[in-house]
Every structure is written in C-alpha cells, then in structure tokens.
Subunit: 318 residues, 6 copies
C-alpha cells in the first residue's frame, strides 16, 4: 500500500471512469486495478482528449501523488498515458501457470513422436512444429474463468489429459490409442482463437460468434487438407471428436460422442477440468472459512479442505 | 391387393428376413414393403448366395405367386434379385412434394437476383447456378421425419421461409434484408449431405457424425473462400447464422443467435417447420378419430380438425 | 444537472425514504428519480404527516435548493406534495412508443374491416369501436419489461403480428385467415387489465392473481355472449387460441396449441416479441461495449451490433 | 368364458374392426371387449351399412355362436346392432366407486352447511342444491387414468380433501377456513365438463381444447355473477384458487398459488391424488410380483406391499 | 438507537473486520450485529492478539462510546472480548418459536404413548425419554432458512405433521397408522446433528458432508439395533421412510418413496414446510408493499395478504 | 435347435405361463427361455399342484418331446420340476466376465497392500480377507443392465477404476492417494447386497428400498466401528465419498462431492461405466447395421464402429 504524499508511477488497468461535479468544476474519478487490488484516482484537470483516448479496460501509465481523503488514500493523477499491448507485460495482470510452459511443450512433443499411425503423426508434427502456433498455444488459457484460467493453462490441460488418456488406452485395449491421443491434443485448439489475453482473458468476436468448437474444426480441417492423401475416415473421426467433446448438446456440442474414442475424450476432458478447477479453489488462501473453501459458484458448493485438528488426531494412531 | 393364385412381379424393399424351420426343412420368411403396405413372402428354396446378397433395407425385384394361408394371402417367392440405386425409381418408396420443384427453384432464383449486396449475390448465384448442387438440393427433404419429409421438401421449406423473411424485413426495418435472405437460403444446405434418399430417407455416416450444421458451415466456407475479397465481417455473420439457427444449445446449435438476423432466421425456421409439420399431420386421411388427428408424437398432442357439424351451424347465421 | 445553490421545483418519483439521525436530530433522507436519473434529497424538518402521506413510488412535487455535499450536490427539500394520477403527465416517467398510436389504431381498424367472416368481424368491430377500450388499449404496453415495454407497445405488437399473420395465411393456404387474424387481434387483450401504467409499469392485483390469459378469455367471453347467435365452434376455437398462445405449459398456457391457427398465433407472437426485444436492446446507447450490447439478461447473451471498421471494409469491394 | 357351440347375446364395445380377405371373400374381423376381457369375432356377411354404422368405440349388442378356431374360440357374429347411451348400462364398462355416492354427497352437504361466511355458503348451496349438477357431479371421475378414475371418484376426491382441509385449518389457525373449504369444494368442478363417461372415460372436445381449469373458472364465475353483491375480493381469491391449484406452470396452472389458502389447496389436492392413486395400485390383484405391485407407470416405480412372512415374524415378539 | 457520547456495553456478533489506514496509522474497522441491526465500530488501538483472537462470526462483549461521524454515529471501541457459547444467550441472536417447547414436547409424548405396535412404541419411547436427546431436539430448528427456522422449530414441525398424519390415517384406512406416526416422529432427527445453533443457524461439518438423511438413518439404526428382536421388516420400512422423505432424487432422497406410508410422509412433510414457510413470510411486518409480502425468494413469488379495503366491503353484505 | 420328435431334457427359466382353452379342455401354455433363446411348451395334463408350484421366473427341469405345429416346433411337456438355487448352474442363465475373477481379485489385493495409511490398509485388509465377502463380491455384477452387467463385473469395474485412480493420483499430486484408492475399492460394495444373481440379475428388496449407496455406507460403517481408534475425520471422508459418488442428486447421491477425492471418485466411476458400457455395445455381434451398432437405449444414440472399407484405404498410405 502506497504511503501518503508518496509520488508514484504505476501501470494499471482502468476499471471505471466517471465524470463528477465538484465545487471547483468537473473532474474525472477513476478506479484503477492491478494484481494488488483497486486504487481510487482523481484527475482534477481532465481534457477532452484524454477522455476520448482513455477507456475502461485500457492499460495506462499513471503518475501522481497519494493523498489522504476521508481517512483513506487516493491518487491525485498528474498524468495518464494509454499503453498498447507491446508496452506492458501481460503477466502483470493475468496469472501464469506455475509450470514452465517449455517443459510442458516438450512433454507434448514426446507424446507426438510416440504416435505410430503415420497420418496422425504427420498431422500433429505439422501443428506442433509451427513456431507461431507454439507461441499462441503456450500463451492460451483453457478457460476464461474456472479451470486452467491462466497463461499456459491450455498446454497444461492438454498434457494432463494425455497422461490420463494413455492410461485409459491401457485399460480399454480395444481403443485406438493414436486416435485418442490425437483427439486429446487437438480438441481445444479452437481456444487459441476463442480467447484473447490482453490485460485480462476475454472472448474474441469470433470466439463469441462461432465458439471454440467450430474454430477448432476449421483449424484442424485446414491442416488435414494440407496433407496429401489424408484418409477420409480419419478426417471424419477427428472432426467428430472435436465436435462432440463437450459430451451433450446442452454443453455446446452440436453432436454427442458416437465413437469409443470420442466418448473417452469427453470423459477425460471433464475429469481434468473439474479436478483442476477444484484444486484451484482449494489453493486459494484460506479466508474466514478455514476448513472449507469459500462458496465455489461454478460448482454450486463449498469444498472441504479437512479439519487439521481432527486430521492430526487421525495420524496419531498410526 | 393381389388376388389368389395371381402371378406377380414387384419391386419392393426387404423389411425383414428370417430363417425358419418347417417340416420340409429351413426356408426364408420375408416381409416386403412399398407404399401400398407390407407383404409377407416365403422362399422355400433359399440359397446361401441369396441370403448373403439380399439384406434388410435392400430394394429387390421379386417374382412369384400369391397363395392363401390361414385365411390370408402370402407371396410364394420364385425369384428375388437385388437392385442398385439406378435400377429402380426412388419415388416409388419415398413421398414427393406436391409442388413442382422446378417452379420452386425458379422462385428461389428470383429472390437471389433481388439481392442488392454484391458479395452476397455473387455467393448465392455461385451456389444456385451449380447444376450438380441443384440436382441434389431439389431431391433433398428438410427432415427425416416430421416436417417436409419428402423429396423436394428442403426447397419448399427454404422458399416458404424466404416469403416470411421478406415480410419480417419490412416489419423490422433495422434488419439487413440481404443478410437475412442469405441466411434463409443457406441455413439448411448441410442437409443435402446429412440425409440420404435411397429407398427411404436416412442419415449418412457424415450426417450422423458431424450433423447438418457443421456440414453446412463447411460447404458455405468453401464457397466463400472461393470468392476473392469476400469480406471477413460478412463471413463471420453468415457462419454465425448457420451455427445458431437451431436457437438453443439443447436443440443442437453450439452457439445461440447473437445478431438480429440470426434471431429472425431461427424464429422463422421454427415457425415454418412447426406449421408445415402440423399441416402434414392434418392432411393424413382421417381415421377413426374424425374431429381430431391421431396422436402426433413429435408434438406430443392431438390436433383438432374441427367439428364439421358445429362448423356448419356456425356458417348458418352468416 | 442542477447547479449549486439553484432553486428547483420538480415532479419526481420517491424511490427511497429513510429516517436518519444527525447531530441536529432526525431527518428524512430521500432518493428521487425521473427519466434524467436519481437525485438525493434531505428534508430537515420532517413532519409525521408528511411521513404518512408520502410513500415510496408516489409522485411528488418538490421544491428546494441544490447544495454541495462531499464534492457532489443534493437537494435540500423545502416542500414536498404528493400528486394524484391526474396531476402529472405519465409520459414523464414511462417511455412512449415512437409511432403515433392513432396511426397504428387506424391500421388495425383497416384489418378488422377486411375480415370476411361476419361473426368474427362483428365481434372485432364491437371491441375496437368502443372508445373506452380504445383509450386503455392504446395506453397499454405489451410487457412490463422486455419487448414493447412502453405506452402504445401493445398496439404496435398486435399490428406487427397482423402483418406477419397475413403473410403466413398466404404461405399456408389451408389456414383460416379470418380466425388467425382474430386470434392475433385479441390474444393479448388481457394485458390491458393485467398491467397498470402509473408512474411505472406494474402488475395490477388481478393481473398477478389471475394473469392476462385468464383476463383475456373473460373479456372475450363477455363480448361473444353479447352477440346473439355467435357460433359455439368459433367460441371454442377463439378461447383456445387465447389460452394456448404461450405455446407450452412452462410459459403459462394451461393448454398447448391444438389447431393450426393456434400454433401459428403462438409462433408469430414469439417471433415478434423476441425480434422487438432484441431491437430494443440494440437501440440502447452504445456504452463501453461498442460492437456488442451490454449483457441482455432476458436473453442470457450479448447481442452483436457488428464491427463498423470491418463492415466498412466489406462495402469497399462492392 | 363361453363354451363351444354356445349361442350368446352380449353387449360389448367394439375395440377393433378390420376388413380381411379369405378364400370365401372379404369379411369383417372384430375385437370386442367388456370388463371380462377381449373377444374375437368374425362376421362373414358384412354389409356396407353395418360397416358405416358400427365404429370403433361404439357399444353394440351382438348375437352369435362360439366356435373353435386354432385351438381357441371365436364368436361367429349373426347380428350386430349399435346402441345409444340410454340403451346400455355405463357401469358395465366403467368402474364405479366402492362408496355409495349418495352418502358421500350427504357428507359434502354437511360441510357446506358448516360454512360461516354467508357469501360463500350461499354460493356453495346454490351449486350443490342443483339437481342436474348433482347428477353429473356424482357420475364424474376425478381423472381419466390414475387416481379416482371411476364413477363417483370426483365426489370421493373432494370429500377426502375436505377432511384433510379441516384438519389443516385447525393446525394453521391464520388460515381462512371457509375460503379453504370453498376452494376444495369447487376446485375440480371443471372436470364434470372435461371428462365424458360413455363406455369409457375420455376427454370431451372442450375438455381438450380448454381444460378443466378454464372450464371450472367459467362455471364458478357464472354462479358468482348470479349472486347479487358477491364481493369482488372473494371472487378474485376463489378464481385464483381454481387457476393455481395445480401448483406450477408445468402442471398446467397458468398462475402459481399466491395466497396461503391456494397453497394449502394445492398441497392437499396433490396429497390426496397421490395417496389414492397409490392405494389403487396396491389394491390390484397381486400377480406374479407378490411383495411388489407391478410397475406403476405414472409414478415411475414399483410399490412395496410388504413381505408377509417377515411381517408375521415382526408380530411374534409382541 | 444509542445516543451520541453515550457509553455502551453490548454483546454482539462480529459481522466484518477489516484493517484500514488512516493518517494516524492502521486501525480495525468492525461491523457488529445483533437482532436490532448492524453497528459500525472503530478500534483505534488494535493489538495483534485481538486480531488473532476475534474473528468474523464470533460473539464479543464490546465496551465503548458512541460518537457522531459524517452525520451518523459509530462506536469507538474501548475493549472487545470474545465470549464462548456458555457466556451468552443464544436467543439473543437466533429467533425462538412462539410456542412453549415443553408443551409441544408433551404433545409428542402423548402421541408416542398412543402407539399400539409394541416394537414401534418401545423404539419411540427410548428416543423421546432420553434427556440429552430432548435438550438438543428442542433446541433444533427444522431448516437453516425458510420454514421453522428458529429454536424449537423442529419440534413444532414434527408436532404439526403428526396432527395431519393422524387425519390421513383416518381418511386412508388401509394405512399402517403406527408406522406412519413413527415415520413422522423420526424423519428429521438427523437435523439435530446437521444444523448447529450458535449465534446463528448453520451446517455442521458432518451436516454438510453427510446430510440429515444419512445422519437420521444412522441415528435410528443405532436405536433399533439396541432393541433385541426388533423386526427386520420394520427396520427396512422405517429406514426407507427416512431415506425417501424428500420425495425425489432432485430434492436429495437417494430413493423415492415406495410404500404408501413413505408416500404420505413425504406429502405431509412438504405440505407443512410450505404452509409454515408461507405463514412466516406473511407474518413479517408489512413494509412498503401492503397488500403483498415482499418477494419470497424460496417460493419465487409474492404472497397476497389481501386488500383490507375490498375485504371490508366483502363483509358488509353479510 | 432341437429336431422334430426328439426327446429332450432341459433346464430352463419359465418366462410365461398361461391357461388356455382347447377343444380337449384347459392346458398350460409355457414360454421357456435360456441363453439359446425362447422355447414354446404345451402341457396337456396340468395339475393344480404344478400350477401352484411353478411360477414365472422359476428355474425348472423339463422333459418332453419336440413336435411340429403350424410349420414350427414346440415342446410337448411330459414333466416339469422346479429347481432351487443349488440344483442348477447360475452361469447357464447369467453372462460371466471374460476375465478370471481370481486374477482380478489378486490385483485388488496387490493394490490394498500398497496403501501406506495404516488405518485405511487395516480397513481394506479386513474387508478383502473375509472369505464370505470374497465369494459374494466376485459373483456380483456392477449393474443390472448397462455396464459390467455380468458375474464378476463389479470386481472388474473396481480394478479398472483403481488403474485410472493411480494415474490421477500421479497427475494431481495434491490428492490423498490412499484415500482415493480406498474410496474406489469400497464405493460400490453396497451392490453386493443390492443386486441378486439367481437365474437373472435383479434387485433385492432391500436393494430397491434402500439402494446400494445406503447399503454401502452401512457396510463400511460397521467395518470401521469394528476397528478400535479408527479416526473420526477419516470415517467422515470415506462415508462422504460413498454417499456422493453418483455426482449429483438427480443421479441418486443425497450429497454432492465436496472433497477433491470424492470429485475424482465420481468422475473416474462415470468414465469407466460409460467406457465399458460402450465397449459392450460395440462388442455385440454386428447385425444388419454393420458400421453402426444397434440403437443403444441407455446412451440414446448409435455407436459408430467405423467403415472397414474406408479404414483399409486409410492404412494404405502408411
């Protein structure tokens, strides 16, 4: 927390911007925010130009001085400048995976190279060897909120799913292992386009209007058409897996899973999403609830952390 | 109904085929069907070859003689030959629209030529001028069962929807008339691939695994990419209209309508499907129910035809 | 926005009224509102009488002076007087249709006179020629919130539906055009009683306890009984149309549509309600969202206005 | 079961009627039915006139002779005559309450006379003193299938509900006892018109198109208007109770219960319907299931009768 | 409301506790609450120890002085001490039934002694004669919010249900009266463990993780096992009643009711819960709505109190 | 298929039993069945005693002779004797797992011994070392129909789930591996009591009235109470896992999963049930559908086996 009368220079997001009347004329009242929380700012000499240029959700560099007001502090803004995407560090605003994304990517490449089916391997190698794809893939989260909602989340989600899929392919030996692995690796690629990571994670226009399922099929289709002699049957099965991976119509798949591999893909996806989302909820600093997490809206429940005291007693007898 | 001892030669569909034991050895018991209804057939000298070749749902040419059995007649099959798609007339098995499909197509061409937006008109002209497209489009039904479930049904569905859409564009003047018309004309083109019309209407493999929404977007996307300079914004809006035209996720759209034109497309589609389906139910020969249709499963209700007697009385006072 | 120290006299609605303690004794803290927004007011010399007389949701004439407080302004109330319905202009608080209601009514009369069926025409003429009916009908909105939620909205809703219904009667020639038109014209008459327009649109007691469907059937029944020899069959069909026009039980119809005219009425009603509601959402001043409307709660989605920049680019190639 | 070669004369319902071909020409194959079960009949000399006159669901007097056929018996019809409603006894086909309906009606009159509120008592006395009403009320079932689906069922349903309602009025002393009793007595009167009891229980046309809730409100409204000075508030509350007694929109009430009396009416109605329906299911002769009833479709479950052996053991220790 | 400069000593709950910065250093800003409402408190000399000891939801004894701030009053805290459960009176924070719980318990004992079946009577006597059980049973509410959400609520809920059940056993004579009574008396005993009454009603850990249905079956099972020779059939039926008393899976019963007594238990439970909940909503002081209660969230509706004016007019004619 | 005039002696189940009239008096018409399918039987000299003794669903030893009738064969029963459970081999009627159950059990013992937590290991060892438990556990299916619906199915279901759970415990390192394994091993133990395997798989009385979730908790609770010093916290968590493993209330869990281990248990259970059910559907002999399975009712879909021809073509390019 900044001290009184301290001069500050910070890069923050504009959360609100309102014109207010004071006895000395109109001024702009700001609410800024970054990971540390919100900050109130007043700008006593606003110009029309600044009002036009600086909008809610913009990232700005603000300079000014902290002053006390009604027992709290607020920032008296001296200057405010809008920054473009290259002028600030996105990780200042959006959380980042706790794993090194390069390591995760390496694991994925290992799995790709383990694929026997030449058509599938060629397809996957084509995708994962593309440097531009890699950059945007590793930046992507797996969801706007809920599970893996951080930079690198998509890669982690896919890696964890492959580990589960490999085990499933051992347990259910009738399954086409390579097809299942391919389905896992490509099922969410539409999210790279659906979600934009600026100073927050949000939907792109095409993300909202078409959705990641459609965008993913389009992406994959283009890749498959680029490979001469890519088998029609395989095309059909892979597209079906992307289309159906949400499992039911109510959850946004236009088609339900109708192959054993598509069924497995859906259940593995669901398992990983729910497990990771629950772990993220458990991971949040224990607030006033202690043994329980706060209410988790997307699960419509509290999650039990356990009772440390009772737990300790449990261990005693061992 | 064929008479006793009559020699018959008919082209029918194999509805069932079962091996049965008789005191004289094994024989094949058939159930054949065509528009006139079912026909029982017995084949006393079956061969392995015929059993392999003739399968349920095949169209066959059967020759034989009608003989009485337990008070009814059955066909004693002398010869049975499987026919391929070109050897029989599909309209012998599948109902056909009561309107001339060429007239309907002409109306659609007229609407296409009324489009002002050059990009849209070029797109539509490209599609509708294609002779192969025309052939398969005019053969397609709009659904397997329920509404417009006959040859030419898709064209009729689309034509009726354009009439409603033109009125809607007058009533709601803020609407982009050309975009709405385009949406109506292309929204169900995926059905040409989704449904196969052989001796019955059924789903194709890709129809079941991908669905007409996905197939429609793919079809349109290919057409739009083939037009140099086709605007990105228009592409986005048209794809969104196809994707969302079922209105809700539960009904198979992966995305809900989010433009006014997509909203209208959905409601007009729904109106025409339900109205035509209801009219088809009313149109069936009145059986033992008279004032009411038989129970209409897809609507989960009976439809009231009206009481002719009371109706007559109504007219008297006029 | 009123200036400091300005003397004001305004007619506003009481949005909140609370007793507060100050170091100088108890006072009344008001929140007033009109179309321009909220206004804070303090009344330093409250009387028991005024507290009893002036209640939340009342319309009042307030006089007083604007004074600065904590950087903003508030109204120091000098006098406050409750007004009855005739002492203020309802359109000061409730939005009004952008169309002239007399023109809309004229269009409706034209449609009434086009009806061939004498029983139906007599019924409709009886209703629409009644001056008292006309007055309350033209004041009525079509809904409390969502679509046509303004004075004159009901008439506009019915007029737009007749335009769609006339087209539907052309497309589906088996339909009884006069019956369909009659259904459209009377289906929502219960809303005249269900909704009260005072300084806001709200439900009447009978509106909440009986609902507009029941009220509408009662209204119509009385009219039909007043016509000697009105046919029983027609009575039955018209009542059925009102009862079933919400389409499903979940949406408040005790009976689902079971005639083709009742089916069409429902789908046309739905189409117009959703289309107009969406257009109203699009019509709101574009706030911080630009290409998208704000979140539309009743549709559970954002509506896409389009991207002006991309749109412009689309037009270039033409 | 009739014996072979026995001459029979019976009054039965026509369940099916089909033309069949035999080596001796066309004949009519009938399926008749009454409480004793189905009976097959053949009519070797059918006339066009008889085919026109005798329809499925008609009650007919048939004379003929029982003859063996394929190891079973069938009736060779000599004559068949259609009967009108007065020529046969409805109780031959439709089950009848096990209680004397006059006794039940007497109990209801006793409850009516216990009502203190003069307006309510006058209303109820007017209804229940009407001889024509009494006749049709006592004949009515409370439902087509499920609970109280027999002649006299409606009266029994209402009587049982009043007993529960009187107790509820003691337990919840804030409740308006007379209003609750009135609601119970009139809530289902629309069923008298909704259901027709001929040789079976079925919906009337107005029953299907308007439903018993609407018909009940109309019936009551007419009665209330006939009483000079019947209070508006009471009218509103009673109509609301009929309208809302199904409890939710999904179950066919256009309005949910919004008074404590309407709430109680709904829950008491539900309790009695489910309890009686369950008792009827338990009452059916124990078939092959013994401890359990057969599957009860309307409850989607089996009902447990109990294990007589285990039960006996339970009693031993006492 | 405390006056300015008044010295106060109160026992209240800590609703919020936040560190704030002021120009004089950090302080603790409290929100306290009791039945009279919220109270703001500032603690200028906070210690680490107090911050650790006093948590949100704790009950504390606070001493201090009321001082004016921005036109309102706040408590300047001089000392704050956390109290344990025995140091304060729970009824200061949680509402209490308006009936004497000893009287209610007496009524329940009377019903227990009326049971004929010796096994059942022995079971119930064993439970209700237990002093520790009695104490916790009489303290328990029947729900956290909604119906009977006050101390003594569970006992009242059970007593009212027995009155209804006794009537039901008269109306449906096939029912096992003693079994039904037993079911009513034990169905919610799991709530004694599920809900904790401290300074508020909340779920216990086992209440959340196991639920009152499971806890109730466990409690009963232990009691039944303690009775030598308790019949297996009766055990099965009683456990089934507890398990199924919510009526459907969606409402938390793992099994639906499959005996007539379990069916009745469910419907009687539902009736009493909804009736009492509605009466509680009606009982709240009439606020700005007058004829209607405020919106009742758990019923998703307003409840109509009636129109006193219209009501009065109703009574006139009598 | 038995030949004509062949003398047969078979052990079969009675599927139907009906009295019929013939010209030679009453006889019993049977429908028998075993794995080979149905068989019609006639018993010309039935006795009252046999009618009483032999019931539908009984297993009987029948002797008799095959005779032709209407072109088919039927069994003329000479003697029929009811068998008790020990007199026939259950595997003659109920399918058996394709895996050796002893091998599967061995794998489970290996997993038990890998558990570190002493309390958990002691609990599991106690259960799995019990010979009587082993016998009934290895006989149990995992469901009446759908997945693992064969003898040994439960053991296989649990074994496959442990393999998936071990992988999940590697992927989600925060998870308590021993607790998760324990949950998997015990979650369905209630099915041993819920399902009875006689000549078919069916529910026991307690299975229907209490359900396997309740029965499972009871079973486990007894085991845990038998271990001195078994920790309360662990008890709570394990019971919670059994109670919540169906994931949602609608699927029969009275409580939703609220620990990460309970969440994982549910998703792994679901994955294995759906995967195995789908594989069983795929495994059925390909009938007339070829590329597709027959309609799978419990999944409400067809499952795609793939197109062998297209598949072959896919492999060519490799």
């Amino acid at each position: 927390m900044a001290k009184a009368a301290e001069r500050v220079e910070r890069v923050m997001v504009v959360a609100r911007k309102d014109w207010r009347d004071s006895v000395n004329g109109r001024f702009l009242l700001f609410q800024f925010s970054d990971k540390e929380g919100p900050l109130k700012g007043v700008f006593w000499q606003p110009t029309e130009e600044i009002d036009r240029e600086v909008q809610v959700n913009d990232v700005v560099r603000i300079k000014g001085e902290m002053k006390p007001y009604q027992g709290a502090y607020e920032l008296h803004v001296a200057s405010i400048v809008k920054l473009n995407e290259k002028e600030y560090d996105v990780t200042q605003f959006v959380p980042v995976s706790s794993e090194k994304t390069d390591d995760v990517f390496g694991e994925l490449l290992g799995i790709v190279s383990s694929v026997d089916n030449e058509h599938i391997r060629k397809l996957l190698e084509g995708i994962f060897a593309d440097e531009e794809f890699k950059r945007s893939f590793l930046k992507a989260p797996a969801a706007r909120v809920w599970h893996h909602s951080y930079i690198g989340g998509l890669a982690q989600h896919v890696r964890d799913m492959t580990l589960l899929a490999l085990r499933a392919a051992e347990v259910y030996r009738e399954v086409d292992r390579d097809l299942l692995i391919a389905g896992v690796l490509v099922h969410d690629l539409g999210k790279v386009q659906e979600l934009e990571v600026t100073n927050r994670i949000d939907y792109s226009d095409s993300g909202r209007l078409l959705g990641h399922i459609m965008l993913g099929v389009e992406f994959l289709d283009e890749r498959m058409r680029a490979i001469p002699g890519f088998p029609a049957e395989l095309k059909l099965k892979l597209k079906h897996m992307i289309l159906s991976h949400h499992g039911t119509l109510e959850h946004g798949s236009p088609i339900v899973p109708m192959t054993i591999e598509a069924m497995l893909l859906h259940y593995i996806d669901n398992l990983d999403a729910q497990a990771r989302g629950t772990l993220q909820a458990l991971d949040k600093e224990t607030g006033r609830f202690g043994k329980w997490t706060e209410y988790v809206k997307l699960l419509d429940r509290f999650i039990y952390r356990g009772d440390a005291a009772r737990e300790a007693e449990s261990k005693k007898g061992m």
